[in-house]
């Protein structure tokens, strides 16, 4: 089976002044993949997503998303940013936030139209938040807010979904629910998720890559202790999955 290649990165290098954020990064993501990228904080995870969005231009290397430079296909990419601590009193409803995702389609100055409202309703339905559409965004729980932000990314009907630390501030039960939602979405789109939380990510994704300036990617879910150590530069607990997920501690 030859799946469609959605993302292709070749020999990517990104410098911020003197600091190298990414180097020798090569990556291919195929249609309907669910790729988890894990790595320590400051390992270049967010930078990698920004390269895919066309927000950061690599100093060298080649990027293509859907076979084109990323800035040309922004409308097809959904993005869920790292959850920021916005003001709980911010004057916006769930609906107001989700419909923001239509900006890419209509651009500056234009108003949201009927099509945008239909898409918003559909996206809210997809994440199970339609009933809360009139509520103030800041009054929802962390997990519910994260669903709303996914809906905002889905509203423009993207073919690729990028998520930056989506579960960083939600409690474990909500996390499970959230990953189940992503599992559903995987059927119709390609997902790249970035996280520093190895345990949570590894249960749900199809493929895992480790990123700490360089990318260690083997096109499967098997991570060896050597890869993790290379990524985190220290011994790391490894979690194996049997019928019951259990934790394997590497000998120190």
């Amino acid at each position: 089976m030859s799946a469609l290649e959605i993302v292709r990165l070749k020999d990517i290098r990104v410098n911020y002044g003197e600091i190298t954020a990414l180097e020798n990064v090569n990556l291919s993501v195929f249609q309907h993949d669910f790729l988890g990228i894990i790595g320590p904080n400051g390992g270049g995870k967010s930078t990698l997503l920004k390269v895919l969005l066309g927000l950061v231009k690599p100093n060298s290397g080649f990027v293509s998303v859907f076979g084109k430079p990323p800035e040309q296909v922004r409308g097809q990419i959904g993005y869920v940013s790292q959850r920021l601590a916005f003001d709980r009193d911010f004057p916006a409803s769930v609906w107001d936030v989700v419909i923001m995702g239509c900006y890419g389609r209509i651009g500056l100055f234009r108003r949201y139209n009927y099509e945008d409202r239909v898409a918003t309703e559909k996206a809210l339905e997809q994440v199970g938040m339609l009933e809360q559409q009139g509520q103030q965004i800041g009054r929802l729980s962390g997990g519910q807010q994260q669903r709303v932000f996914v809906a905002r990314a889905l509203v423009a009907q993207p073919k690729l979904l990028l998520l930056d630390e989506p579960t960083a501030s939600i409690d474990p039960t909500m996390q499970t629910e959230f990953y189940e939602l992503l599992g559903e979405l995987k059927k119709s789109l390609t997902i790249v998720l970035v996280s520093h939380d190895i345990g949570a990510v590894s249960i749900y994704v199809d493929n895992i890559a480790c990123l700490n300036r360089e990318l260690y990617y083997h096109g499967s879910k098997e991570i060896t202790p050597e890869i993790l150590e290379a990524t985190y530069k220290c011994p790391v607990q490894l979690i194996a999955h049997g019928t019951v997920p259990h934790r394997v501690l590497k000998e120190h």
Binding site: K50, L53, L55, E71, R74, Y79, S81, L84, F86, D87, D89, F90, P91, A92, S93, D96, V97, M100, G101, Y103, G104, L108, F109, R111, Y112, Q136, R152
Partner: protein, 276 residues
């Protein structure tokens, strides 16, 4: 109050209050939700340089203030986005240097600077008709921008990083927002004076925020509160023979503080009825 309305200066004062309420009500909502009250304070104080320049050149000080306000607004925005200078440092520099320039210009101007106090602390009773026309034009510009860019400014205020990610020209929009704040500052100088401008930029919007979480309704309510504060403050200052700008602000501030208390009480009662 009705007998007061037969005077032209009273009618002008009410008109000026209304125009000021429109500008500060709309723009104040952005200032409050985006938490840029002190950028606005910096712009207001820096514009004193323009007032001084106006006296020095013998032109309308408000025109000078308009240019200084725009320049300092864009400078604060540009400098903090392009360099590593922290925003509050940039604000501090412009705030102080603008005031200092104003003092120097006024010292260099021969003779006495008439109604200087009214620029500093406002005097809604002496607003000339030409300034009312200027305020009207600025109001129209502000409303035009907000109507055209409402959806963009909601995204910008809520989540700037997301705006960048979906390809919105975040930086240009932010600079335009600062320019809009500068225009509003100029509109308000005549009413409450440059030192007290931030009060009218924040009180009505903060008050409105307690009643709604819809930004459009918040703007309408904020315009309404802005007008109520100026109108009632003006009446009170007329009856008590107090300076109008300061009365407007003390009335607004007291109302706002009391409304915080009331809404806390309401919240507590609601929480209690949930428990029982």
């Amino acid at each position: 109050m009705l007998e007061a309305l037969q005077y032209e200066f009273m009618r002008n004062a009410l008109l000026a209050g209304l125009l000021a309420a429109v500008a500060c009500g709309i723009v104040g909502v952005y200032v409050v939700v985006k938490k840029i009250v002190f950028i606005s304070g910096g712009i207001a104080h820096a514009s004193f340089g323009g007032i001084g320049l106006g006296y020095f050149l013998g032109i309308n000080p408000i025109t000078g203030a308009l240019f200084f306000a725009l320049a300092s607004g864009l400078a604060i925005g540009g400098v903090t986005r392009k360099t590593r200078l922290p925003e509050d440092t940039a604000i501090g520099i412009l705030w102080a240097m603008g005031m200092a320039l104003g003092v120097i210009f006024i010292a260099l101007t021969p003779g006495y600077a008439p109604d200087l106090m009214s620029y500093l602390f406002g005097n809604i009773l002496t607003v000339p008709f030409s300034d009312i026309l200027l305020m009207l034009v600025l109001d129209v510009v502000i409303i035009g921008i907000v109507v055209a860019l409402y959806k963009e400014y909601l995204i910008l205020s809520f989540d700037e990083e997301y705006g960048t990610a979906i390809g919105m020209p975040v930086e240009k929009l932010y600079l335009l927002m600062l320019a809009m704040i500068s225009l509003t500052v100029v509109v308000l100088i005549r009413v409450v004076g440059m030192i007290l401008v931030i009060a009218l930029l924040t009180f009505p919007a903060a008050m409105a925020r307690q009643f709604t979480y819809n930004m459009k309704k918040m703007m309408l309510l904020s315009v309404l509160f802005g007008f109520l504060f100026t109108f009632a403050g003006l009446w009170l200052s007329y009856v008590l023979r107090l300076p109008s700008g300061a009365t407007i602000i003390l009335l607004g501030g007291t109302t706002l503080t009391m409304s915080f208390g009331v809404s806390r009480l309401l919240l507590r009662n609601r929480a209690r009825s949930h428990i029982s």
